[in-house]
């Protein structure tokens, strides 16, 4: 009996040993499986956050139990949880990029992933346009220079995308499947121009075909697939001016049904990309400026100087409407005497300390009695603005950015120049409009929006350019800020962003145009209903090169030089500022876009490197 018991025990022991050996193998693979599940749980957390963000619209409105602790994965049959957190500080979620960290937990095993979510904005591109045509109301574009269309007709014929049905000619009301490119105005891209960075149009490009050296970056268009009459063939997503030359608006026979033939693709043949909807107006920025920014009223002069100095003249701005940190204590911008206006000197650092959010808004006023609209000592309403700072005099010479006296002569020095014609299309009727006249070397993260126009009156540079890159206009790095700089300037005019170069016939004697030669601009521009232009582009003399370093987004496209090529700027270069790939971002500019937040990057984090809530 004893022996039987002993034998039985030995047999049982052997069975246990064999079983244990088998289990040991199973446990190991089970741990791997659990690790996979934890990763899946972490990624499910990212998906959950994205879904909630899509519903909430902005990161600050997202609510979830997973933001404060472990939340069970909906529908999961095992013990699986996730928790997530918005890594981006709440006050930094307006850059168009946020980072979310999610950790999955399954049976005590955790894995953590970090996802970068991005909203598509204009400053993802070196160049974006809503339409490649010249705006219908652009001075001199459609009338007075041989154009065939009135402004109203240009509005009807040319405002939509090429691939939208439009009137064929002025001779009838017949609609064609596309815009008549032969009667709308376009601006050429020249072979000497250089566009470094991704370029996109919501429209259809009208250029080519010998532009291979112009583009360094992806070129895309929102022209949908079609047969060349109602959309673009895959091999050619652009209109060749040599195939579709300018024609007669009154001649129906000049309507070309197939404007885009299928041809052998060129290397830069644009790919397809969905349209980037432009915000209709900058009112979102107005609210930010009123809350914690600088809110100016009517024509406003802003100059920046190295050291974070901002010099402002804004004769219509009242004390009641502007935050205290945007003016000098004891002084008022409002000009009781329109001929004696106050210019204030502000410190960016001081403003930040007092809560300045970086947004500047220049609004319009319809008040006909506003100081800028009143007659000055010259018995004219020009200039609207009369700067008065003696410390930062407009008639002094500066070494950086280099400039001499802004005016050669004139009884009253200001903007627009005193000798501006009464019917000047750039100024007439705009005495109360929110136009900002800007120049200088800025510091900080700034967004300047204007309810009307923004006029550039001199070099517009990141102040960190002072370390180099600004002496030689022909150098490749001319006007390119250092990659370590954290300064950025967003420009958001409702209508035009233009270079202030009034007609020589009335401006040449008073305005110091040489300050605008070889113009460099460091900015991320978003022009909502107009374009980037040169004032009186058809009369100005040669100004050298124009280099736009940053991002240029415009509703339409305008000329910056004479068609003959002997005036204005040539060549025109657009350099994408790589820092705008989210090292820096103009404050609150991304909030204007309604694009969805999409997954940009996902990375896994080292285990144990992030704090976690207590395990449930």
């Amino acid at each position: 009996m004893i022996l039987v018991i002993i034998y039985s025990a030995i047999l049982l022991l052997m069975v246990l040993i064999v079983g244990q050996a088998a289990l040991a193998t199973v446990r190991s693979s089970d741990t791997n499986e659990t690790s996979f599940q934890a990763l899946a749980a972490a990624e499910a957390g990212i998906d959950d956050y994205r879904a909630r963000l899509a519903l909430a619209g902005t990161p600050n409105r997202v609510s979830s139990a997973a933001l404060t602790g472990w939340a069970p994965i909906p529908g999961a049959t095992n013990d699986a949880y996730y928790t997530y957190a918005l890594v981006t500080p709440t006050d930094a979620t307006h850059t168009g990029e946020i980072t979310v960290r999610s950790t999955g937990l399954v049976n005590g095993i955790t894995r953590t992933v970090e996802a970068t979510l991005r909203k598509r904005t204009s400053y993802d591109y070196a160049y974006v346009s809503g339409s490649e045509t010249v705006p219908p109301d652009f001075p001199g574009a459609y009338t007075g220079t041989g154009g065939d269309l009135t402004v109203a007709q240009a509005q009807s014929f040319c405002k939509d995308h090429w691939y939208d049905p439009a009137l064929k000619s002025t001779a009838s009301s017949a609609l064609g499947p596309h815009r008549n490119s032969r009667i709308c105005k376009y601006i050429a891209v020249k072979s000497a121009d250089r566009w470094y960075g991704n370029a996109h149009t919501n429209d259809t490009w009208y250029f080519g075909p010998s532009l291979g050296s112009v583009f360094a970056g992806a070129v895309t268009s929102s022209c949908p697939p079609g047969d060349g009459s109602n959309g673009c063939p895959a091999g050619q997503r652009w209109i060749d001016p040599s195939v579709v030359p300018q024609g007669n608006a009154a001649n129906p026979a000049d309507y070309k049904l197939f404007e885009i033939p299928s041809v052998t693709p060129v290397a830069w043949n644009p790919g397809y990309e969905s349209p980037l909807d432009f915000p209709p107006d900058p009112t979102g920025l107005r609210a930010q400026a009123q809350a914690a920014g600088c809110y100016f009223t009517g024509p406003t002069r802003i100059r920046w100087f190295p050291g974070g100095v901002m010099v402002v003249t804004s004769p219509n701005t009242t004390d009641a409407t502007i935050n205290a940190f945007c003016r000098e204590a004891g002084k008022s911008y409002f000009a009781s005497n329109p001929s004696a206006q106050t210019t204030m000197v502000l410190s960016y650092a001081g403003m930040r300390q007092q809560g300045f959010n970086g947004v500047i808004y220049v609004d319009s006023t319809t008040d006909p009695t506003a100081p800028s609209c009143q007659t000055k000592t010259s018995r004219s309403i020009y200039p609207f603005i009369i700067p008065s700072s003696s410390t930062y005099s407009e008639t002094a010479t500066y070494s950086f950015p280099p400039s001499t006296s802004l005016w050669k002569s004139g009884k009253v020095l200001g903007f627009p120049v005193e000798s501006t014609a009464v019917d000047d299309p750039w100024s007439a009727g705009f005495c109360g409009k929110g136009t900002a006249y800007i120049q200088g070397a800025y510091r900080g993260e700034l967004t300047l929006a204007a309810a009307h126009d923004i006029a550039i009156t001199g070099q517009l540079w990141d102040e960190n350019l002072s370390s180099g890159n600004w002496q030689d206009p022909l150098a490749a790095n001319y006007a390119v800020p250092p990659t370590t700089s954290l300064n950025t300037l967003g420009l958001v005019p409702y209508r035009y962003l233009y270079v202030y170069l009034p007609k020589d016939s009335y401006g040449g004697n008073t305005w110091q145009t040489t300050n605008l030669n070889n113009l460099g601009i460091n900015a991320a521009a978003l022009i909502l209903n107009g374009c980037f232009a040169v004032q009186d582009w058809d009369t100005t003399v040669s100004r050298g090169i124009l280099k736009f370093v940053g991002s240029l987004a415009q509703a339409n496209r305008c000329s910056i030089e004479k068609p003959s090529g002997n005036g204005g700027y040539n060549p025109f270069s657009i350099y994408y500022d790589e820092r705008l790939a989210r090292t820096v971002a103009p404050p609150y500019m991304a909030d204007l876009f309604t694009e969805p937040w999409s997954l940009h990057r996902v990375a896994e984090l080292r285990p144990g490197s992030v704090p976690l809530p207590p395990v449930p």
Binding site: L3, L11, V18, N198, T484, R582, V602, E604, P607, S609
Partner: protein, 209 residues
């Protein structure tokens, strides 16, 4: 119970024990062999999982309109790439990783050579090589063979499908760069020369390259 009955019982149990013991001895041998193979397979599997984790989060070295490359070299048997997969102490910046087979020496086997980014003021200024990680060590009779298969999405049939796409030579810079930016999935396989055991994993790349 008589003495004879006891002796018979002992004899019968003895014979049974011999038979059962023979089975157990044979069984233990099989378990030992299975354990050895399981160990090889487990090591392979761990290696494949580690490589998969790195492949899954392959990422561009830098961003911008001309982003830094994500895959810098690739053949059927080795691969070099940047990855954001939490394999070191630096979070948020891609590591430079080479996965290949070393034929001889102390690190013979399938290895991961990892270079850790050195970050200054938010910018990667250089990389530091970490000690080589031997993922599957070569042993007598067990030499691991590493293989990569690359896939790209093809819409030629009208429906997107993954098709195998061998990499062009790295020396053909333009062709390789174009190929590298369109890789969609990577399959990694490790084969044991002794047993022929294969561990493989098909990995979808999370990030656009």
């Amino acid at each position: 119970m008589s003495l004879i009955e006891v002796l018979v019982a002992v004899g019968v149990f003895g014979i049974l024990m011999v038979i059962v013991s023979a089975f157990f001895i044979s069984g233990f041998g099989a378990i030992r062999d299975a354990n050895a193979l399981s160990s090889v397979q487990q090591e392979q599997r761990n290696a494949v999982l580690f490589i998969s984790k790195m492949l899954r989060y392959i990422d561009n070295e830098t961003e911008g309109y001309v982003p830094g490359p994500a895959i810098t070299s690739a053949t059927a048997t080795e691969m070099r790439f940047f990855t954001n997969s939490g394999i070191g102490s630096v979070n948020g910046y891609p590591y430079d990783v080479t996965v290949r087979t070393i034929a001889s020496g102390v690190n013979a086997g399938v290895v991961a050579e990892i270079r850790e980014p050195v970050v200054s003021a938010g910018v990667v200024t250089s990389y530091v090589a970490l000690p080589t990680r031997v993922l599957v060590r070569s042993a007598p009779g067990h030499v691991p063979a590493l293989a990569f298969t690359y896939y790209q999405v093809s819409t030629a049939s009208g429906t997107p499908v993954d098709v195998a796409s061998p990499p062009p030579p790295v020396s053909d810079t333009a062709a390789f760069a174009a190929w590298a930016t369109s890789v969609d999935k990577v399959e990694v396989a490790i084969t044991d020369s002794g047993s022929g055991l294969v561990s493989k994993q098909l990995v979808s790349l999370v990030n656009p390259l």
